[in-house]
């Protein structure tokens, strides 16, 4: 941060490491040229971290590929990409031969892609990957491996164990860190990272991002960090560049971008990004959708969605305007934008909706889970079964009540059992032990196999899936998809009635004109439209409880708030309860706070804390909730920079097949004491009269033997190193 502020004012021109001049990438399509990068001109300075932000389909991956001239066939890169090495003449990357490119790519500029899972060859140990990379570039293998070991331990990994492991033995976060080490082993000057953490959990994302800063300082790196997640890079990057519709909308120092965004899109994006601190009223979706690469709008590409657009915007492509030191913006009205934009937004959208803060924790529960346990896998059953017993307890003794018109949001890392618990609650997963009651009736009573016996209960509990693409059968038209629930539950309607009802629903959720959409196939719809169809489909059977499994995480940032608003609205109109699942605390907060619902935090199959959104966000009691709170990046410029120490002792989750004894969090908990390893804490009610908050931690008791127990954290105070694969990371902190 501080470096950039001083350097930003007058940066010598020889400090540029890569510059792009009018760089375009085009793909020939059946219906014309598809421009996925549109005459981009920009510079990357030495020793900075440049955060590139864009929604999916904004051309951000193409920007990364163009920098290395690595655009996949049949894409064509035009314009200039010039690399300035520390010594010697500038290199024009686009003119390099195949051989020179190969040298250039790992030795000068290296790249980390998303999806570390597929970047490794599963049949080769990690060490071979390093050796192959080194020998392909004629490097000294011994020296290279020594450097690799140093890099691995810098990334809090045990070098010996890592090098001798096979890729499948490592967790996703470990693989991603090994990949970063691999990309740095040839000592490149520039590291391009394309969504390096997109597939990882919140806690792991945050941990890797904070490691990057250390790595960058130690190895004199320039980093280009490409992501769709604005808050994630906000406190890491020195400068931020916002991509919209295949060109830069705005580029400038990150604190300026966050505090005084000059481009209307940046401003809208900031408002559309749910976070923990901003008031709910300020969050609003961006209307419309990103343009198609074949028909980029004339003039300013953002004008169809921009509230400030006028004739000038429709005809003249805005060049870079200077909006302050080192701050360029591509908008004709940037000065006006800073002043008028909020007013313009007030006019276009009205989100002044008061949350229905009814006390929902009263009356009889709609769905009541008691001591639910779900186990996967089979135990070793004796002869002919030589393998170890492989059972995973995904949900371990969870009790939860969901009331009428209630909203419960389950949060947790992946693999913590939140989806399994939720599916059990709606009768799509058979519990191993415990009961689920719907209005006092056991839902599995008289059930055969995996289907519920009582069809009314089956109707009352519905699901909306995470990935809208696979939630709709690609072989059916919208009409067929939506007709089925009607045929099953409203047999009195004939074909025309069903059609009218479907048209009405489509229009209700803002898909218009509905006649045009009813005969489309799912692939002809955008992600947001698909998700709305899936939502309507479950609404059409009049359910009492809908499970929304990460229903917004597959959508673009700018559409998430809109989708959540729609769900909240439908919940109100149709008197349903929602059980949301989210790995993202800011989305959870948005929904729970707006509806007056509760947030439940899960860790390794157990519910560790339940409470109202306000209490969970502002006053988390359980150390794990605090860790999640820490891992959720902030957009507020003031809070950026003072990123505290990680409140966890180990980055990786223990192996769920062998969960830790006592409190399951004690292996990572900074407050853990000896008693935590032996005794399991129960729920403690911390709530005042209005908002119940429960936490499963001994620290909630004023008077408990915990306070006399010896701390187990001191001896391993600096044991962030992961000793190995998933198999025994359960004892990570002990095996230092």
């Amino acid at each position: 941060m501080t470096i950039s502020e001083s350097a930003a004012t007058d940066r010598p021109s020889d400090d540029v490491i890569v510059e792009l001049r009018d760089t375009s990438v085009e793909f020939g399509m059946e219906r014309g040229q598809s421009r996925v990068l549109n005459e981009v001109t920009t510079e990357v300075y030495r020793d900075e971290i440049l955060g590139v932000i864009g929604e999916s389909g904004s051309g951000k991956s193409m920007f990364a590929s163009a920098m290395l001239d690595a655009v996949p066939e049949p894409g064509v890169t035009t314009g200039e990409v010039i690399y300035h090495p520390e010594e010697g003449e500038p290199i024009s990357v686009t003119d390099l031969s195949k051989d020179e490119l190969r040298q250039f790519r790992w030795e000068e500029v290296s790249m980390v892609f998303q999806g570390a899972m597929s970047s490794f060859n599963p049949v080769l140990p990690i060490k071979t990957h390093f050796v192959e990379t080194l020998s392909a570039h004629d490097y000294d293998i011994g020296r290279g491996l020594a450097r690799a070991q140093e890099l691995l331990s810098d990334l809090y990994l045990d070098p010996e164990r890592m090098l001798n492991s096979y890729p499948h033995e490592l967790s996703g976060g470990m693989k991603q860190r090994v990949l970063i080490a691999l990309s740095l082993v040839l000592e490149p000057d520039l590291l391009v990272m394309d969504e390096p953490t997109a597939a990882l959990d919140l806690l792991m994302q945050r941990s890797i991002v904070s490691l990057l800063e250390e790595i960058k300082e130690k190895h004199d790196l320039t980093i280009v960090f490409i992501t769709h997640d604005l808050p994630l890079v906000a406190d890491l990057a020195d400068r931020l560049a916002v991509l919209y519709a295949f060109e830069f909308a705005e580029i400038g120092p990150s604190n300026r971008i966050l505090e005084e965004p000059a481009h209307p899109y940046t401003r809208a994006l900031l408002n559309a990004t749910p976070n923990l601190s901003a008031p709910l009223e300020e969050m609003r979706p961006i209307a419309g959708e990103s343009p198609d690469p074949v028909n980029i709008p004339e003039g300013c590409s953002y004008h169809p969605r921009c509230p400030l657009a006028d004739e000038e915007c429709e005809t003249i492509d805005p060049g870079p305007y200077d909006a302050g030191p080192d701050h360029d913006v591509h908008c004709h009205h940037w000065e006006q934008s800073i002043e008028d934009l909020d007013i313009a937004f007030e006019e276009t959208s009205d989100t002044g909706k008061t949350p229905s803060a009814v006390d929902k924790a009263s009356g009889d529960p709609l769905v009541s889970l008691s001591d639910v346990e779900v186990t996967f896998g089979s135990a070793n059953e004796g002869w002919l079964d030589f393998g170890e017993s492989q059972t995973v307890t995904a949900v371990d003794g969870v009790s939860l009540d969901i009331y009428d018109n209630d909203v419960v949001v389950l949060v947790g890392e992946s693999g913590c059992g939140k989806t399994t618990l939720a599916k059990t609650a709606v009768g799509l997963q058979t519990p191993t032990a415990g009961t689920i009651e719907y209005r006092g009736r056991d839902i599995w009573e008289g059930a055969s196999g995996s289907t519920l016996a009582d069809k009314e209960i089956r109707r009352a509990l519905q699901i909306v899936h995470q990935d809208p693409g696979s939630a709709l059968n690609s072989h059916h038209r919208v009409r067929t998809i939506l007709e089925q629930p009607l045929k099953r539950w409203h047999p009195d309607l004939d074909g025309n009635d069903r059609r009218e009802r479907i048209l009405g629903m489509l229009e209700y959720v803002g898909i218009s004109p509905p006649e045009d959409y009813i005969d489309r196939y799912p692939h002809q719809l955008s992600g947001g439209e698909q998700q709305r169809i899936a939502l309507i489909r479950s609404m059409l059977v009049n359910p009492d409880l809908i499970l929304a499994d990460e229903a917004v995480s597959a959508l673009d940032v700018s559409l998430r708030v809109g989708m959540m608003d729609l769900m909240i609205e439908l919940q109100d109109v149709f008197d349903t309860s929602f059980l949301f699942i989210s790995h993202d605390l800011s989305n959870a907060r948005y929904i729970a706070e707006k509806t007056g619902g509760r947030i439940g935090v899960m860790y390794l199959g157990e519910l560790v804390e339940v409470g109202s959104a306000k209490r969970i966000i502002e006053d988390p009691q359980h150390p794990y909730t605090k860790a999640l709170r820490w891992a959720t990046p902030e957009l507020d410029a003031e809070q950026i920079g003072d990123s505290e120490e990680s409140p966890m002792r180990s980055i990786d989750i223990p192996d769920p097949t062998d969960p830790p004894s006592g409190c399951r969090y004690h292996t990572r908990c900074p407050e853990a004491r000896e008693v935590c390893a032996t005794q399991t804490p129960g729920f403690v009610d911390l709530g005042d009269e209005t908002h119940a908050q429960k936490s499963a931690c001994f620290r909630a008791y004023d008077d408990h033997e915990y306070w006399q127990s010896a701390s187990i954290t001191d001896e391993h105070a600096d044991s962030g190193v992961d000793t190995g694969g998933d198999t025994d990371s359960g004892v990570t902190s002990e095996s230092d």
């Binding site: 389909g57 209307a287 109707r459 072989h475 074909g495 009218e500 229009e507 002809q524 729609l566």
Partner: protein
């Protein structure tokens, strides 16, 4: 049912009283078109009404007629596939070849008189005498007539065998894959038994046992397919195992749609390209098997057919007697021709089941075409961009 006016209005009132304003329109970003109507119930051009207040209760004023349903059925199963196939040369060629065989098998048998020994001169070459265009055999039988008159039984045998293979194979595969558990174990065991039965000996034994029926082409087709369906069942089962875990199947289960619907309408369409290709391949292999078995003399025969012709020609030394080449070539060309036709058809039928291609060909009025192209290309762009 005609317009259920009373129903919808009463419930509407109830909803309005409880105060559910259509404010959702204000909250949702306007995706493209305009959302003009907010409060009043708009009357559609086709007579229905849309109440934004309670889309749950909307019903139509027009009763669905039988004609509507028939029309929709035709659109789905005839017009769209035809419009897709019309553009594909392989489909046209495949259809042309197969239609030719069907024509020969139906009309041809009436046009070409059956032949008998000493019908003409011995071993007349092809195209030598227009009374016997394809020549004669060593016993003086007309080669063309023999080839034509064996077509119907071959076609019937091929169709019945192919249908048997895919119907039994798909049913076993889909049910055992979707149901799992005990059903799966039972069906998979049966499948495994059939996979492991050696096909040729089984056919030989059955052919002897069923001698009375073996001259019926349907029985013969099924007999030849007895060992073929099991492999298909196994392959389909493994595909169903992945499809059953897809979100849309889970949604269908959550909505309590019938198992029959889930299997036939949710799961099966994803398998159709595979099933169709297998059907055509099964048809091909049944012809090959039948011809081979006739040639070997394993199957009893009463009448001439392509396999028997090959056998006779071979026994008369057609391989090294140029004068008898035509006797060998005619059945060979007949067999290859139908195989080529089937392969072309299989390749093109793949397209019929692709929703992207279907969407482009459906008859939905003029403005649909560009929209489809957009969505289609958009996707491929995204694939290319790795996003």
């Amino acid at each position: 049912m005609t317009r259920s006016e009373d129903d919808s209005t009463t419930t509407n009132d109830g909803d309005e009283a409880s105060g559910s304003p259509g404010s959702v329109d204000e909250l949702i970003p306007n995706t493209g078109g305009s959302n003009d109507d907010g409060s009043t119930a708009a009357v559609r051009s086709d007579g229905g009404t849309v109440d934004t207040d309670s889309p749950f209760e909307t019903t139509s004023t027009v009763t669905e007629t039988r004609g509507d349903r028939v029309d929709r059925f035709l659109e789905e199963y005839l017009r769209t596939p035809w419009s897709i196939l019309r553009d594909d040369w392989r489909a046209l060629a495949g259809f042309a070849i197969l239609s030719f065989y069907v024509l020969v098998g139906t009309v041809g048998v009436y046009l070409v008189e059956p032949t008998y020994p000493a019908h003409g001169p011995k071993l007349l070459g092809a195209f030598a005498d227009w009374q016997f265009p394809l020549g004669t055999t060593s016993s003086g039988r007309d080669v063309l007539a023999m080839a034509v008159h064996s077509t119907p039984s071959i076609l019937v045998m091929m169709t019945s065998g192919a249908l048997f293979t895919i119907i039994v194979g798909t049913a076993f595969g889909v049910v055992s894959g979707y149901k799992g558990g005990l059903v799966d174990t039972a069906l998979s065991t049966i499948t495994d038994v059939f996979i492991n039965i050696p096909g040729l000996p089984l056919v030989i034994v059955l052919a002897t046992l069923l001698e009375d029926w073996i001259n019926n082409p349907v029985t013969l087709g099924v007999l030849l397919a007895v060992a073929a369906w099991a492999g298909l069942a196994r392959a389909i089962r493994s595909q169903v195992l992945t499809i059953r875990n897809e979100s849309f199947v889970e949604s269908a289960r959550a909505m309590d749609l019938s198992t029959r619907w889930i299997l036939s309408k949710e799961v099966l369409p994803h398998l159709m390209p595979y099933v169709v290709v297998n059907m055509v391949n099964a048809a091909r292999s049944i012809i090959f098997a039948a011809v081979a078995l006739y040639f070997l003399g394993v199957l009893p025969f009463s009448d001439a057919n392509w396999g028997v012709m090959l056998n006779n020609a071979y026994n008369s030394g057609a391989l090294y007697r140029p004068a008898a080449y035509h006797w060998l070539l005619v059945p060979m060309i007949a067999i290859s021709g139908i195989a080529v036709g089937l392969i072309l058809l299989a390749q093109s039928l793949d397209r019929v089941f692709n929703p992207r291609i279907r969407a482009r060909h459906q008859d939905l009025g003029g403005d649909d075409e560009p929209i489809d192209a957009d969505a289609d290309a958009d996707d491929s762009t995204k694939e290319m961009m790795n996003v």
